[in-house]
Structures are given as C-alpha cells and as structure tokens.
Symmetry: C2
Amino acid sequence: MEIITSNQNSRVKLWTSLQTAKGRQQSGSYLLDGWHLVQEALNQAAPIQAVIATEAQMDEHLADVPQGVPAFQVTDEVARHIAKTNNPQGIFAQTSLPNNSFDSKYVHAGQWLLLDRIQDPGNVGTLVRTADAAGFTGVALSVGSADPFGPKVVRAMQGSQFHLKVIKDVDLATWIDDLEENNYDVYGTTLSDTSVDYKTVVPEKSFALILGNEGQGLDPELLAKTSANLHINFLGKAESLNVAVAGGILMFALN
Amino acid sequence: MEIITSNQNSRVKLWTSLQTAKGRQQSGSYLLDGWHLVQEALNQAAPIQAVIATEAQMDEHLADVPQGVPAFQVTDEVARHIAKTNNPQGIFAQTSLPNNSFDSKYVHAGQWLLLDRIQDPGNVGTLVRTADAAGFTGVALSVGSADPFGPKVVRAMQGSQFHLKVIKDVDLATWIDDLEENNYDVYGTTLSDTSVDYKTVVPEKSFALILGNEGQGLDPELLAKTSANLHINFLGKAESLNVAVAGGILMFALN
C-alpha cells in the first residue's frame, strides 16, 4: 500500500481540493471524514475512489475495506491537512458525487423535501438526515442553497445521502409544476396563520414539502404555485422556529 | 452620554468578560448582541445594566431606550472587541442573569423541558426557542449542559429566555422525584423501540420531557425513574435524529 508523507503529493492536493465546490465539481467527488461515514459508504456500496487513513486507523479498519478499493496510508500531518481540522479521526474516503441529472417529470411516488435557498450547512445537513429518518424518498435543493456535498453538510447528514436521493441546483418552480402534474400535493410553508394549520392535514397521496430561506422564508412566487400552504401554530411567544426543527415537526406529522 | 474609545476602559473589560462563564458569574449578568435581542429585553422589561452602541446604532435606536437605562457609545473597534466578532451589528445590552434559586418542589403546573447534558450550544439554544414556541413554561438544564447564557446559546435562543424560565445546573433526579410527587407525568426519551411510540401518547395532565446527551443519550439512572419512556419511530434508515429536531417533534406532538 502506498504511504504518503507529503502535503505536496498530487493525490493529497486532489483530496484537499474537495473542501471547495470547485474541487468537488472538477473531480466529480467529495470527501467523507471519519469511520462512521466511510463505513456507511461501504455498507451502501457507494462508488469509492480511495480510502485514506493514518497508520493507526488503517490497522483498525483495513480488514473492513473490500479488495479492489484503493487504500492510501498517510501521516498524521497529512491527515490534518486533508481534514483542515486539528483533530481528525484520521480516516477518509473520496466518493463519487451522485448523478445529478434527475428529471422531476419522472417523480411519481414517494415523499420529497424541497429546499428553497436554505443557506446554513448545518440546517441543510440536519434536514437531509431528518428526511431520511421520516422515510422520505429524496431532497431537492434550489440554486442558492448550501452545497450538500460540502464538508459541514456532509458531517451533519451523517450518511443519510446514501439512503435517499439528494439533488442540487434544481428549479423549484419546474419541480412544483411537474409534481402537481404527477398528482402530488405540494405543501408550502409560511409563518402566517392565514395558511393551513399542519395539524389539520392528513395527506392522502404522495406529497412534497417545501421549506424556505432562514431569514426570508419561501419565495412568494413558489407559495403561489403550491397545492396548499401550511403553518405551525405557536402556543408561546417565539416568533419562529429554526428551519430544521420546523421541517422535522412537519415531516414526522405528515408522513 | 459617555463615549468610550479604548478597549482598556474598565467597563469594556467587564463587558468582554461576559464571553466567559466566570465573567458572567462574577457580574451576575450576560450580554445581548444585536438590536433584535436588546429590543426583546426592553419589551419584556428585563433588568438592563447598560445599553452599549456605536454612533450609528445609537442614532437609530436611542429613542427606543427608556430614560434611566444607562447608555454608552463606543467606537466600531470597541464594538468588535466586545462582540469578539468582526462584523457585529454594533449594539449590545448587559442584562442580569435570571434568579437561579428555583425549587422543583413548587412546580405544580405547566410543561417543562429537562435537558440531560446537552453539550452543543446551538442545540441548547434551539431547544429553548422551540420550547417557547411550543408553549412550555420552562427549561431546566443539568450540570454538564452548555451554559444557557454563553454567547452561542444566547444567539440561538433568539430572546426566548425572556418568555419562559431557564434554570441551569439542576439535579435532574431530584426534579423527576419532585415533579412526580406533584402529579406530573415525566417522559424520558430513548432510541429503543421497546419504549413507547410517542404518537400513541396523549398527556392528560402536566408533563415534563427529558432529552439526553447528543452522543450517549439519557442517563440510564434517570430513564429508570421516569413515568414512561418514549421513542420516535423511523421509517427510513437514519440511526438517530439531531436532539433539537427530536425535541421539536416531541414537544409539538405532546403539547
């Protein structure tokens, strides 16, 4: 097995480039940091270009890495350089970005979460993880949302991207039209109590739920296109909920 | 109005000390950063030792600060020093910590959220904000939880600490005993499907909900003392939910 000791190594340069959107796009891949995520990628038979680990991590986990998956041992210093953190666990995988050519015309079943410009990476990752737990089929993110394959989102997804579809840079207006054409109920969300209390809704067919930007909420042009718009009634004095919490309440109540 | 231009000013030293637990304890106060929080403190008549603002912020907001609240103008440089961030809005308030001498023996009504060693400040703050939205009466945090008056928690609470009680450093075993003595249902939470599906529970009296540490969950000794323990059924493959999302789902379903 190749042992890499220099941050100037061309593979190391590739792996560090995965911290950036440009690097991920150029290589068509992103980085998994930590055994929990690497193991989940292996369990789900995700396409893996490389497993990268320090000597200690290689000793612990190499037996679980299938033959044919390229493995590279790195020094602790190189591991810190790849992770861009001071105390990485010391095991990574480079894995392929999912195929993003996905046409909403062909979505005929399963629940979908649509995200309109959700910008905080922790919120996006937590929402994908929550959609997975709630049994959703996929999450589609508009242009202007956090990149779901950036390091902070990947950490927060905790491997859920291997359990459901994660599609980025979609045009939500087109998605709403296509889903409604395919007999979906599409639910927007608002803070206004002139919309429908989510507790009164029992979906009788496939549905999509749209959540909006942390500060501005959902685009009014999208709200005008939905089948119905929902709100959560507050008993207390808080003005709003964190979008990931609101998404969790709605997804678990509706599905 | 006093204009403060030096980071060495003794008041500035006090305000910067509020970034630390020790500084907050010594002064019995904590810091609100940004007009949204300062305004909410004023609206709720919280005891305010000082409003601190740059010239631009003072021009915008001084008219909304009641007579008798000490106001101090600071330079942009001093504002950055107090905030410990590069781009603060430039308006702050020093406000009193709530009275923490609160005896669970006297809790006879209202829903309570109990937090067992929740460590991430964002989670603690989001949970307090969510408990407020769900109409809870208070949040009690065990020893070993994030300090609810540290800067990251205060940012995430978004002023909800002015709407409900926030009690820190409690002994949860005592709280459970006292609440059950006072005819409460106390619900623990687990990941185990041998506990009760939360969707089957309709509380018929006052209740408390306990959430556990992000990694380890709820202390088994506490789980053994509760009235019942609840779990959330997952339809998908995710192994767990973020604790703030789980708390939101449970609080809105139960209350």
